[in-house]
């Protein structure tokens, strides 16, 4: 406890002496990187202070107290940092970490492909060594931020003669080179939040391979684990400070750019919060059939919330987590689908209209055409059910047809 008080005291003093809102965002963040207070849980050697993760909120509080800005945390860059810290060489750390923290470099994640969605390890983007460099050819898909990224975390196949998980290697790809061609993908809801990346004879220097050749799957798992962890903190870190001044304006722009692709995400979750107000405003609350559907939704949504709280409470008390911890993703899909049904019922014929003609200036229509994403993105409902039945209920896997050398595995032709 006294340790914590001392740490808080130390950071407070440092901030008082160093926080200067007349600096540029990058200047300030370089100062943070030098001090170790930007990422106190990182190693001292690499811009941190070797402090436990648990006290980060306390340190963030000190920042918030005087409205000091933190290091760049939004977007894929923190996944890149976590992966490099765990699997990268010292050279990688030296080359990339500082500019991640200052926000000068933007990163993206080149994992999914047109031919490998749920089956991520089935990637067919190839990396061939020509004696000097790795030559990359293939296509990646669903790549958020690729259109303005400086670097990409790339999963590519380097060995086609071994089983699929063993033939992948993890690379850092310079996205600004000529062989990398980025196109936005327009979605059914009209937004274009993701990109397709065509990679043609792009090159990667040998030193930009991360970890061993063939270790790509293991490294990718680290990235994905951090992705799941980060999802929780997203809202907190991307709050708009609302403060005047150049440095805040710079931060605001950075966050706005990163968050742009996610602006319809509340709608894809179904906007349960709008159901009762809409039912009341439209008078549909009087309809007995609709009341039943609203009640089903509210029960489902509340129970899912309580289930998550049971899981969290067990975790906080150091008790073994029961199955309740694995159900969030699938529950969210069920809730979103029912919410979409209910919004349709409440809107009646207005559900035919969108944009300025639609209910709530098109917001409800956006719910109706965004909800189908929830049960696909980040692991489909079907994959979730496999995970639940196999890992929680201990049921057997389906027989597989992809365990031999990857070159013999039937796959999509693209």
């Amino acid at each position: 406890m006294s340790d914590l008080t001392a740490v808080k005291e130390e950071v407070r003093t440092w901030l008082q002496e160093n926080w200067d809102d007349s600096l540029s965002l990058v200047e300030w963040r370089n100062r943070l990187a030098d001090s170790g207070w930007g990422v106190p849980d990182w190693p001292r050697q690499w811009y941190g202070r070797d402090l436990p993760v648990a006290i980060l909120p306390e340190i963030e509080e000190e920042f918030a107290e005087i409205n000091a800005i933190g290091v760049a945390r939004s977007g894929i860059r923190m996944l890149a940092a976590a992966t490099i810290l765990e699997h990268g060489s010292d050279m990688h750390k030296k080359e990339f970490l500082r500019r991640i923290l200052t926000g000068e470099d933007t990163w993206c994640q080149l994992f999914s492909e047109p031919g490998s969605g749920s089956d991520l390890a089935g990637a067919t983007t190839r990396a061939d060594f020509d004696g000097e460099n790795w030559i990359i050819n293939g296509q990646k898909l669903w790549t958020t931020s690729a259109h303005h990224a400086d670097y990409g975390l790339l999963l590519a196949r380097t060995d086609w003669d071994v089983p699929k998980h063993q033939g992948l290697t993890y690379f850092i790809l310079d996205m600004t080179q000529p062989g990398v061609d980025v196109h936005q993908v327009k979605q059914m809801n009209g937004h274009a939040s993701f990109n397709q990346v065509f990679i043609t004879d792009a090159t990667i220097a040998p030193q930009h391979r991360v970890d061993e050749e063939g270790a790509g799957w293991r490294v990718a798992m680290t990235t994905l684990a951090h992705e799941r962890r980060n999802a929780d903190g997203m809202n907190r870190l991307n709050r708009d400070s609302g403060l005047p001044g150049a440095i805040y304006e710079e931060e605001r722009k950075e966050v706005a750019t990163v968050m742009e692709p996610y602006k319809w995400y509340p709608q894809r979750a179904g906007r349960v919060d709008l159901v009762m107000p809409r039912a009341q405003q439209t008078g549909r609350i009087e309809d007995a059939g609709i009341r039943q559907e609203i009640a089903k939704l509210l029960i489902m949504s509340k129970s899912a919330e309580w289930t998550a709280r049971r899981a969290r409470a067990a975790q906080e008390q150091g008790m073994p987590q029961g199955p309740e911890g694995s159900l969030g993703k699938l529950s969210a899909s069920n809730v979103a689908r029912q919410a979409s049904r209910v919004h349709t019922l409440i809107s009646g014929a207005d559900a035919l209209l969108t944009g300025s003609d639609g209910a709530m200036d098109g917001l409800i229509a956006e719910v109706l055409v965004s909800v189908p994403a929830v049960s696909i993105a980040g692991g489909t409902d079907e994959i979730q059910r496999n995970i639940i039945s196999e890992r929680v209920l201990g049921m057997e896997k389906e027989p597989r047809f992809d365990s031999g050398p990857f070159k013999d595995v039937p796959r999509n032709v693209i």
Binding site: A288, Q292, K296, S303, R310, N334, M395
Partner: protein, 378 residues
């Protein structure tokens, strides 16, 4: 709000679970469901004396153990899991709570110690042939008769009504209607003028009776005519307890289905390796866990005096009813033909799921109730 059980509650659950696994195997369930009384007095005695379960929620000053609804819910969940055939729901959940909610101090001091010790078994008679568990549906009339009252009318769907020593009857003062005039009475099970008929139930593990009252002399429980709040509260408490019983049964069905799917071979592999089966089981789990959260939450809310208990009770009842009957139907489906036989046990829980779905009002009724009661801060 409590979101995890304490270490003591976990230990308590283990004790109850061990007792019930031992005393209520399906061979016993099958034996007792064929009897008219529907319970084993020896097991009732052991349950009362060794574990003191009937005393659980009775406050200490009335001879009870003074625990809360979270503990009661643990007992209910385990009883639902074991499909225990015993008058616990009728005597403890329904009657003891009705007395606590409606009775005078003197009546509590008189009746509750007897229920807490298990020496008498009581029940609560609310519903009539209309099948509605609500005040406005009560027609049975209480007429003044000199200094006392006599009851005239009929009650139906009374749990263990044919075997209870004491019957708490909800009646209305003669000439009243709607919400007004609701009154509780205590009647001796053997009082002259009561005709008790055991009903033929789909679920033979929970006995129901029709009770006809023809000029039966009755003691008011609490103030005659002022019973509305006590009735509503008792019904909410009963719904919460029943929800917890239901999730225990749902858990049993899911577990037994998953286990069966791991050993049953077809097409050269266990059926539990087919995604068609695995996904059904994953959906069972999600329904179960969500219903569990609603049921636990409602019980904790009761103990913490949360003002939203009425909403939470209806949410829990609706969620548990839907989960139980869906999982029961899916359980039979996964078992295939054998699941439709009398000798395989699944139908015992299926029938309990059906009776629990309807008892105290079906899920649609509770959803409507929930909408009427919905407020901010839930």
């Amino acid at each position: 709000m409590q979101f995890v059980f304490t270490e003591e509650q976990h230990q308590f659950r283990e004790v109850v679970k061990r007792f019930l696994r031992d005393k209520s195997p399906t061979t016993e369930v099958r034996r007792l469901m064929e009897t008219d009384d529907g319970f084993d007095p020896v097991v009732w005695k052991q349950l009362s004396e060794e574990l003191a379960l009937p005393s659980l929620i009775v406050p200490e000053k009335y001879g009870g153990a003074g625990f809360g609804f979270v503990e009661l819910s643990i007992v209910m969940e385990e009883m639902g899991h074991s499909l225990l055939c015993a008058p616990y729901f009728s005597s403890v959940v329904l009657a003891a709570n009705a007395i606590l909610n409606a009775g005078t101090e003197e009546q509590k001091l008189d009746l509750l110690p007897q229920i807490a010790s298990g020496s008498i078994r009581a029940t609560l008679a609310v519903t009539e042939s209309s099948g509605r568990w609500e005040a406005t549906a009560v027609e049975l009339a209480a007429k003044t008769d000199g200094d006392g009252f006599i009851l005239q009318g009929e009650k139906c769907f009374v749990v263990d009504g044919h075997t209870a020593d004491k019957i708490i009857v909800v009646a209305r003062l003669e000439g009243s209607d709607g919400d007004s005039g609701i009154s509780f009475f205590v009647v001796d099970g053997e009082a002259p003028g009561i005709k008790k008929t055991l009903l033929k139930t789909v679920d033979p593990t929970r006995k129901l009776a029709r009770l006809e009252f023809d000029g039966v002399q009755a003691q008011p429980l609490g103030e005659p005519g002022a019973g509305l709040d006590a009735l509503n509260k008792t019904l909410d408490q009963a719904a919460i307890a029943l929800s917890n019983e239901m999730i225990g049964g749902t858990q049993y069905l899911m577990d037994s289905t998953v286990e069966y799917s791991k050993v049953r071979m077809q097409f050269g592999r266990v059926i539990g390796s087919f995604q068609a089966i695995k996904h059904k089981c994953a959906d069972m789990l999600i329904q179960l866990e969500l219903a569990k959260s609603a049921a636990y939450h409602a019980a904790a809310a009761l103990d913490e005096g949360d003002e939203n208990v009425p909403v939470l009770a209806s949410m829990a009842k609706s969620a548990a009813s839907d989960a139980y009957i869906q999982v029961a139907a899916d359980s039979i489906q996964v078992h295939g033909g054998i699941g439709f036989t009398w000798d395989q046990d699944t139908h015992l829980w299926f029938k309990r799921a059906k009776s629990s779905e309807v008892f105290l009002g079906d899920p649609a009724y509770h959803r409507e109730l929930m909408m009427q009661r919905w407020g901010e801060g839930i």
